[in-house]
């Protein structure tokens, strides 16, 4: 925040009220309750790099100093990890508020270049990289048991137990192909019939929400994606949608019904929930692995969706595996640096946050830091490579498949 005197001309008393609803959050409606204690800022992994950390953003919004706030870069440095919100003594919806402020920045001042580019990429290619959307199934092309695509399933009329929504990152970044491969491998080992969305899968919308570009005009971008994805799944008649990406899961679970305007007619299941169910039903038989691991909770899965136990249950089901918790885990888990489109907006800061989280994982002495998110894996692995850390980064699905197949 720049020094100097604030005048009434700077203060737009209509600002908070003008923010309206955004994806179920009445943006800024509870900002007036803020007691400026700073617990949000001190819990924020990127606050040190912000010109205006969360506490001050809430204050600026409350006073209506929007020109200064929305033109700054601070709102784009938020990881949307919800650490602030989890500890806010007034229970203010800071993360939802931040997304609403990004949308407002886009409306009033235009989106930052990178975010605008992201939006037009998704508009054109229906994915975040701009690849041809058919390439989404490349990860499974060479698998021994290649899961069928939804198009094939619909044509042949075969019933499947679940449709797998792999997500843009897992589908289009070869470095994390092994996650969807492991997920489908584990399910195949348990005899679950799976169809993949493949080219019919469109971006879930999460990156657009983070870019402040979910609304779009004249066409509501998010709604376009939601309608398409829901209809594709519905055509298969599957009772379940399997999601392994925590961000896709969070969006499907918490946003889709609101946008779709009705019940989806199928259940949204995260891969770790599915695994736990299969393990409980003795449909998987993991072989012993003498290894010490620590588990990193992805923000969208843990703090934001409340799934803490299932990934741990999967790890504990592997005989011989020792789970060492980091000091900050569960609700207290720290972001890997991969959230909130920060990697696109400020890669250096993203790397810094990842380095800090990796150090906490290393402190446990574990040989592997396990997560259940391809984005966490990418950022933590990036940090491990850079820091030459002697710790392996794996996904729950990968470690489970190894145990199940006795590799």
């Amino acid at each position: 925040m720049s020094p100097g005197r604030i005048t009434l001309d700077d203060m737009d008393s209509q600002f908070l009220g003008s923010l309206g609803n955004h994806l179920g959050t009445k943006v800024g409606a509870d900002f007036a309750n803020c007691i400026q204690c700073g617990a949000c800022t001190a819990s924020c992994p990127s606050a040190h790099a912000m010109d205006d950390p969360p506490r001050r953003l809430v204050r600026m919004a409350s006073l209506g100093l929007w020109k200064e706030m929305l033109s700054g870069r601070s709102i784009w440095q938020c990881l949307t990890c919800a650490s602030c919100q989890a500890r806010c003594p007034r229970g203010i919806e800071i993360t939802g508020g931040m997304l609403g402020l990004r949308r407002e920045a886009g409306r009033r001042l235009g989106l930052p270049e990178g975010m605008a580019r992201l939006a037009s990429t998704v508009d054109g290619a229906r994915n975040i990289t701009g690849d041809a959307n058919e390439n989404r199934a490349l990860w499974c092309d060479d698998m021994d048991v290649r899961p069928p695509a939804v198009v094939e399933v619909v044509q042949s009329g075969v019933r499947v137990d679940a449709v797998y929504f792999a997500g843009c990152v897992a589908s289009l970044f070869p470095a994390v192909y092994s996650i969807p491969r492991s997920v489908s491998g584990v399910l195949a080992a348990a005899g679950v019939n799976l169809a993949v969305m493949a080219g019919e899968e469109w971006c879930c919308g999460f990156p657009l929400i983070g870019a402040g570009a979910a609304d779009g005009s004249p066409v509501n971008r998010l709604e376009t994606l939601v309608r398409h994805n829901v209809e594709v799944v519905k055509r298969t008649g599957a009772a379940r949608l399997l999601v392994s990406c925590p961000s896709c899961y969070h969006t499907w679970k918490h946003t889709y019904e609101k946008v779709y305007g009705a019940g989806l007619g199928f259940e949204i299941v995260h891969s770790t929930q599915f695994f736990t169910e299969l393990l409980d039903g003795k449909r998987l038989n993991p072989q012993p692995r003498e290894i010490a691991v620590t588990y990193h909770d992805p923000c969208d899965l843990g703090r934001k969706s409340g799934i803490f136990d299932e990934p741990r249950a999967v790890l504990k089901a592997i005989p011989g595996l020792e789970l060492i918790e980091m000091r900050f885990h569960g609700m207290d888990s720290k972001c890997c640096g991969g959230g909130g489109n920060l990697e696109m907006n400020d890669p250096a800061l993203s790397g810094e946050v990842a380095k800090s989280r990796l150090a906490q994982a290393c402190d446990t002495g574990a040989a592997v830091v396990v997560s259940s998110c391809q984005q966490c894996k990418r950022t933590l692995q990036g940090a491990a490579r850079k820091e030459k850390a002697r710790i392996k980064v794996q996904d729950v699905a990968e470690i489970l498949l190894q145990a199940v197949s006795g590799e």
Partner: protein, 662 residues
């Protein structure tokens, strides 16, 4: 035909602002039996009441309807008015057209229509009102005070000094409560034990106080002036009369120094046989049934027994229930300290040297585990200490309320820490709340003693290089701050007892959203509860410091003494009664009565000249609180409630539902 008077009150603009009072009065004038109907600005005022009295005399009115505020507000006022004009006070009916009408809508037309409906119902009902006689009930002049902390001790002493017998019931083996654990008190820095222990001893030796330590109230029946309180005396496994408090059993106990002690909050260890603390009252040993090897496994050499020269150990002691008749009860059950282990970001129970507020009190106290030396787990004097405010308070994730004492106790502890160790001291606060007498001055004093005040809620405690690092935002600078310290004291707040809800059920008092007991009125009846004869003192009603607890205890005692100034009092005439001719003696009413006021009775009667005996239900009018559950349960229409008879209530409902919509 009845001669009914109707009075529609404006309550200034409270009612008249929304309801067309003149129209309501005009409407009422046309109702059956109504002789006069008026509207008036303030009916509860002296001229307003005089107007009613005058009409009763002049027009020979025999029933009165006042359409005004809630009957909770002025029903008693108008009963007195009616009574002073020579009518039975129960010939009155109040129609609530303020809380139920004018305060809940802005729609004048709708409001006026509803006011007319309510007045019509009241007129229909009042016509059937019977004259009721107010019963006179005796008042027992003994009191039970529950909880032996400072509030309970003070209340007991004040009542006892007024010449009344008091039973002081304490759950723990000793009275004293949390105040006994404190080192110094803010803002005067009086030694807590020095000012408390004389009162503890006074309570124990007072000729009018009977101390029941290690005891709990398990049941309360009866009503104001006539409670029966059942107290369970838990087995101490020590004969209180024989025990001299020498502590030989504690020294001999095979578990000596093995069990974390409650008084030092786990910072020191005791045996299964122990003396609670050196100044305990009564100074008697107790054997902890949860840990004693003999009591848990029947396997022990019972060295306590052989060590006791007075033969006071009695491992076969059993719990004993006693019943006390009392006219009044004071609840002074106090608080518990918030357990911060759920706030994992602070590492309580995980990181060494993260302690709560009461643990610090024990650490700094001369009779504590370190004999008053502030030491870390390694036995070293800390070079810097952080005090974290608002742990579990002012927090929607835990307790929304401000615990009121933590700012002050944290600053007092900061002062003691500076004084005793010279350590650098950091107070992490959101707002400093120092509104008591001499409190702001104390804040200023502590600032002057070099304590660093950092305005920001501590977000988390990290561990780095063997030290604790407090992370916060200095919100005044707008900069992140990380301070390494050797000890972190959590300013843990005050929460209701875990069993507060059970106690509330036993004593028929209500519990607020915050879990504390609720007073009858937040401003005007702060020590009363909604159960007559049960009063509140101290932190069981909400977080309080010592002066407030003592003041409230005095107020509760004054209430008890006011009650005891009467030998008898007026009872409630609106009680249930049985029409024997209809009652079949099925006794369905008996189990639904929450006050145990109904029992079977055998009546003798003659049927066609032959003497027969049969059972009917009988209501003990003294125990009945007039709730009406029995009347609703009765299958034979035999049970009825005075002033709420089936006929009266149905007339009211009929008038509401069937009468012409006004």
């Amino acid at each position: 035909m009845r001669r009914i008077g109707v009075y529609v009150c404006h309550c200034g603009s409270n009612i008249a602002g929304t309801v067309d009072c003149g129209a309501v009065a005009g409407y009422a004038a046309g109702l059956d039996g109504v002789v006069t109907s008026k509207d008036y600005t303030y009916t509860c005022s002296d001229p307003g009441q005089e107007m009613i009295r005058e009409d009763i005399r002049r027009l020979n009115l025999d029933r009165i309807v006042v359409a005004a505020c809630s009957p909770r507000m002025h029903e008693i006022t108008f009963r007195e008015t009616v009574k002073s004009a020579g009518l039975n006070p129960y010939y009155l009916q109040v129609a609530n057209i303020r809380e139920h009408v004018s305060w809940v809508t802005k729609d004048r037309e709708e409001a006026t229509r509803k006011a007319k409906d309510l007045v019509r119902a009241a007129v229909a009902r009042v016509a059937l009102h019977d004259a009721l006689d107010v019963p006179v009930i005796p008042v027992n002049h003994q009191a039970v005070v529950v909880g032996g902390g400072i509030a309970g001790i003070q209340a007991a002493l004040d009542i006892a000094d007024a010449g009344h017998k008091v039973y002081l019931v304490e759950r723990d083996p000793s009275i004293g409560g949390h105040m006994a654990q404190l080192d110094k008190t803010f803002p005067t820095l009086d030694c807590s034990a020095c000012i408390l222990t004389p009162k503890m001893v006074d309570a124990a030796h007072h000729p009018n106080i009977e101390l029941l330590s290690y005891s709990e109230v398990v049941d309360v029946s009866g009503y104001v002036g006539n409670f029966t309180v059942k107290v369970r005396r838990k087995p101490r496994y020590v004969d209180e009369a024989a025990c001299s408090g020498c502590g030989e059993c504690a020294s001999a106990c095979v578990l000596k120094n093995r069990v974390p002690g409650e008084f030092d909050r786990g910072l020191s260890k005791r045996g299964a046989a122990y003396i609670p603390f050196p100044q305990a009252v009564p100074l008697k040993a107790v054997i902890d049934a949860k840990t004693c090897l003999f009591l848990t496994r029947r396997k022990c050499t019972r060295k306590c027994e052989s060590a006791c020269a007075r033969g006071a150990i009695d491992l076969n002691q059993k719990a004993e229930d006693i019943e006390i008749n009392a006219g009044a009860i004071v609840l002074a059950t106090g608080y518990e300290l918030f357990d911060p282990s759920g706030l994992t970001q602070y590492g309580y129970g995980i990181l060494p040297n993260v302690i709560d507020g009461l643990q610090f009190e024990r650490l700094v106290n001369a009779s504590g585990p370190t004999r008053g030396r502030i030491l870390t787990d390694k036995g070293e004097q800390p070079e810097s200490i952080a005090f974290l405010h608002c742990i579990g308070s002012r927090d929607t994730n835990n307790n929304r309320y401000c615990s009121r004492v933590c700012c002050m106790y944290s600053m007092k502890q900061a002062h003691l820490a500076r004084e005793k160790t010279g350590a650098e001291v950091y107070e992490f606060y959101i707002d400093v709340r120092a509104s008591g007498k001499g409190y702001e001055e104390f804040y200023e004093r502590v600032q002057g003693e070099g304590v660093h005040f950092i305005r920001g809620k501590a977000a988390e405690i990290l561990e780095r290089d063997g030290r604790l690092v407090i992370r916060a935002e200095d919100t005044l600078l707008g900069r992140l701050i990380e301070i390494p310290v050797d000890m972190a004291v959590l300013g843990t707040g005050l929460v209701p007892h875990a069993n507060a809800r059970d106690l509330a059920r036993i004593f028929h008092v209500s519990v607020g959203a915050d879990g504390f007991f609720t007073e009858a009125h937040p401003k005007l009846r702060p020590v009363d509860t909604n159960t007559a004869g049960v009063f509140l003192a101290g932190a069981c009603q909400g977080p309080k410091d010592i002066p407030e607890s003592v003041a409230q205890a005095g107020a509760a005692a004054a209430k008890v003494c006011a009650l005891f100034s009467m030998d008898s009092m007026e009872g409630e005439p609106a009680v249930a009664f049985v029409d024997d001719s209809r009652c079949t003696g099925c006794m369905w009413c008996e189990p639904v009565c929450p006050y145990k006021a109904i029992g079977p009775e055998t009546v003798a009667e003659k049927v066609q000249g032959i003497a027969v005996e049969r059972t009917v239900a009988r209501v003990n009018a003294a125990l009945c609180r007039g709730c009406g559950a029995c009347a609703a349960a009765c299958r034979d229409n035999a049970m009825n409630l005075k002033h709420f008879t089936n006929e009266q209530v149905l007339a009211e409902v009929d008038a509401l539902c069937l009468g012409n919509r006004s």
